[in-house]
Each structure stands twice: as structure tokens, then as C-alpha cells.
Amino acid sequence: MIQFAGVSKSYDTDVVLKDITFTIDKGEFAYITGPSGVGKTTLLKLVYCAERPDEGAIVVAGWDLKKIKQGTIPYLRRNVGIVFQDFRLLPNKTVFDNVALALRIHDMHPQEIKEHVGEVLKEVRLKHKENILPQHLSGGEQQRVVIARAMVSKPTVFLADEPTGNLDVETSRTIMNLFRQINTRGTTVLIATHSEALYHGTGRRVLFLRDAQIEKEIVG
């Protein structure tokens, strides 16, 4: 589902990723970890085409990102659900509208949108806050809205960047259970995190980034 072959990426003279090669199969559930500033977010950005690699080939859900056309990128992204590390909620839209936006982009019927959004807000336990603006939510609540928005369009690939940075242990567990459910439905899940607690004891693949390379790969 996600294939990196000899991928390198620098910002100016700053080498962030160097000759990265790995494959994540359809239906897999994997982690990327490493210290702050190592390039976890950059790696995810390469997957959804927000950054382009300097070298190497990337294939996502059948699309060869080297050859993908500008006009096709939106259709790739509609197959990818993303939990952004910096949330990216629209400040002038309510929780409901923020989540609904992902479905509006899919040109879904308003009635259907309403049902789907209501459902997913229940799953992240925020149904009671649906008419509130994001800035009136706690940090953890905002993070859960982002998760809801990433899930609601039932993507084939699910990327989560530090999805529990603002969540307590208990809420984290609920959210991770959600991710597992999504995975069971056949969605490929890739999570970037610095938190050992998240992958420890899960029995899933964990890729360790250090000094621009995949230092090691373990089973969590």
C-alpha cells in the first residue's frame, strides 16, 4: 500500500531523510518513531504528496507519486485520512462543519453527511460539543476532532501524526482502539509517535528513525 524505495529529502542543506526504503502492506498497522525533529512528519508528508522527495520512488495505493499529475493529487488525498500534528482545524467553522468538510469535498449528500458525522463524533465522544468552535475546546478535544475528520471519509490509508500528544492514558486507549477498528475494516494504518507507550506490547511493526535513516525495525 505504501512503498518507499531509496527516498531522500532535504530542506535547504538540512538532510532530513536519506535513502529510506520500506514497504507497508495493505491492511497493515505500523508505527514510525524517533526523537523530536528526526523527520517523522516529513515522512508522512511525502506519503500524501505535501512534500516531494529529492530522490527515490514512492508508491501509495497504486499511485506512483513520481508520475502523478497535479490534478490527480486531490483524488489520491481523498483515499488518505490524516491526523495532522498541528491539527489544522478551521477556526471559523464549528466542530460539526470541520468534520463535515471532509465529506463535502467528496460531494456527499447533506443528509448522509449529517449521519456520518454524528456517528464519528460519538465514537470520539464529542457529540455534545458539535456546535462549538474549535478554540473553545480543550487541547485533547481538538485532537479528537482532527481524528474524527480523518476517519469520517473511510479512507484506505490512515496516517496519524502524534495523535495522542494531548490525550491522557485512558482517552489514548479509546482512540487506539478506534484505530484498531479502522484497521480491521481493511484500512492500512501508519502512526508517527515519540511515545513508547503507544506501541509497546501491541505486536505491530515499529520503524525507528535516527540520523535520517531507518536505524532498526522491531515488533512492538
Binding site: Y48, C49, A50, Q70, G71, I73, P74, Y75, L76, R77, R78, V80, I82, F84, R88, L90, N92, L101, A102, R104, I105, H106, D107, H109, P110, R149
Partner: protein, 294 residues
């Protein structure tokens, strides 16, 4: 269709949200359109003045002393059949004297000293307005001068020349000014929409990351630009109508002669100007959002 409705909703929200800039933009464009309309109106009025005055400045053909009525009617027939002449008026000696008396007004007591009427009879000719350039009138005058029984031909060459020059200059200025203003209108909308675009840069970035197509992102902005243009057109049309009516009323109150000279506002002629403005505005917003890269 759904995407269009959603875009319209977003555009209207933005119109309201950014109401101050939008107001400023609409007013700027309206003022531009008003200037164009005002210029067209003034040029038209000048044309009308020119046409009206052409009567005063028509040719006056003084006849030689002692023509028979047969000779006079030969001349009249000649003028009647000349396609350049649209009206022929015979002024007898007596009428001429009466007219002079009226022209002199308060000083007419002077004329009481006359023993016999010294004025000759004349024909007053009005030429087609197309011919009312100084050179044409001059040519016509010398042509008539050579007819039998004609003593002298008079016309108001100086005023005619400066007025027609003025009218021509106005027309050229109108074309250039109009062009400049239309470009300015496109530019004003361009920059307003560009401002909105920059302001919502973060939002657009997020939309792109969520898989929105170019159309989905662009449509609200283009609709907003179109809306601004149409609104400005309506405002300028109303403004023009109001100003013109007011002006006509107020001025004619103490300068009654003005209403004779001023042409009524042909509403039909003032719809194209705002419409072109809306189009330019649309164009401006279209260019402003033209470059979305993923």
C-alpha cells in the same frame, strides 16, 4: 451542482464576513463606473448642445435688394431640394426688423430713429448635423454665395469650431478614460480577491490536504468577485440615476434653460457600462485565484 451551492454559501458568508473591504471595493468600482457614465452623459449632452446650437449657427442667406417674388421662390426651391439642408425659413424685411428689435431688447429705442426699414430679406438654413464641421459649413457657404440673387452668407464660424473640437476631444478622452477605468476595475477586484485569498491561505492549504479539487477551492472566490462586480454595477446605476435627476431638478430651478439642452438619461444606454464593469470584476477575480498548485 452541490459543489456550486456550497461555493455560493461560502462566498456569501465571506461577503458578509469581510464586509468592510467589500464595501470599499464596491464603492471604488462604483465610482469608476459613475465616472464613465458621467463622461458618456456629458459627451451626449455636448452633442445635443451642438445640434441645438447648429440652428442658431445655421446659414443666414441675405438676399440682394429688389428681387422679384419669382426669383425668391426659385431660391427657396433650390434650398428645398438640397439634401444637405434640413430646414428653410424665409425671413421678410418686416420680420427681420421685428427680430432685431427683440434682440436689442432694452436698447431697442434706438431703432425708433429709423425712417425706412434698412434690413434685407433672408433665408435661414439649417444644415444636417453631420455637416456641422467648420470646413463643411464654409464650403457650403461659398457654394451658396455664388447663387443668383444672394448678397451675403453668414454663419458663426468661431463658436462652431471650438465646440466641435471640444466634443471630439471629449470623445477621445472618454474612450481612453473608459479603458483605463475598466482596467482599474479588474485590478481592484483582483487585489481584493487576492487579499481574501492570502487571508485564507491556511484554510486553502487545509482544503488541499483534505483532497479538495481546484474548482472546489476557486469557485467561492470567483463567485465573490462576480457578486462584488454586479453589486457595484447596481450601485453605480442607482447613483447615476439619482445624481442626474437631482442635478436636473436643482439646476433647472434657477437656470431653466438647462433642461432644454440636457438630454434625458437613456436608461438603456447605461446598462452596458455597469455590465461591462461586472465582467471586468469577474475577470479580475478569475485571474486572482488562477494559480493553485498542489
Amino acid at each position: 451542482m452541490r459543489i456550486f451551492l456550497f461555493a455560493a454559501e461560502t462566498a456569501l458568508k465571506s461577503v458578509w464576513h469581510e464586509k468592510w473591504i467589500n464595501l470599499l471595493t464596491v464603492l471604488s468600482i462604483s465610482i469608476g463606473l459613475l465616472i464613465i457614465s458621467a463622461f458618456v452623459t456629458i459627451t451626449q449632452n455636448l452633442d445635443s448642445v451642438l445640434k441645438r446650437w447648429s440652428k442658431d449657427f445655421g446659414l443666414v442667406v441675405y438676399l440682394k435688394d429688389g428681387l422679384t417674388s419669382g426669383e425668391e421662390s426659385t431660391l427657396r426651391d433650390y434650398f428645398m431640394h438640397d439634401t444637405d439642408v434640413i430646414s428653410v425659413k424665409y425671413v421678410s424685411r418686416e420680420q427681420a426688423f421685428e427680430e432685431l428689435r427683440q434682440t436689442m431688447g432694452e436698447q431697442s429705442s434706438v431703432l425708433e430713429g429709423f425712417e425706412s426699414n434698412p434690413l434685407p430679406p433672408s433665408f435661414e438654413l439649417t444644415l444636417k448635423s453631420e455637416l456641422l464641421t467648420p470646413s463643411n459649413v464654409e464650403r457650403k457657404a461659398s457654394e451658396i454665395q455664388h447663387l443668383n440673387g444672394v448678397d451675403e452668407v453668414q454663419y458663426g464660424e468661431k463658436w462652431l469650431s471650438s465646440l466641435s473640437t471640444l466634443a471630439n476631444i471629449m470623445k477621445v478622452v472618454a474612450v481612453f478614460l473608459g479603458g483605463a477605468i475598466y482596467i482599474a476595475i479588474a485590478f481592484i477586484t483582483y487585489s481584493t480577491i487576492k487579499i481574501f485569498f492570502y487571508r485564507r491561505k491556511d484554510e486553502i492549504e487545509t482544503l488541499k490536504l483534505l483532497g479538495a479539487t481546484r474548482t472546489f477551492i476557486r469557485l467561492p472566490f470567483i463567485l465573490e468577485g462576480l457578486f462584488i462586480g454586479v453589486l457595484a454595477g447596481v450601485v453605480s446605476s442607482l447613483g447615476l440615476f439619482g445624481t442626474y435627476s437631482l442635478l436636473l431638478n436643482k439646476i433647472s430651478a434657477f437656470l431653466p434653460s438647462i433642461s432644454i439642452v440636457m438630454v434625458p438619461l437613456p436608461l438603456r444606454a447605461y446598462i452596458p457600462a455597469p455590465l461591462a464593469g461586472a465582467l471586468m470584476s469577474f475577470l479580475g477575480s478569475f485571474v486572482a485565484v488562477g494559480t493553485i498548485r498542489y
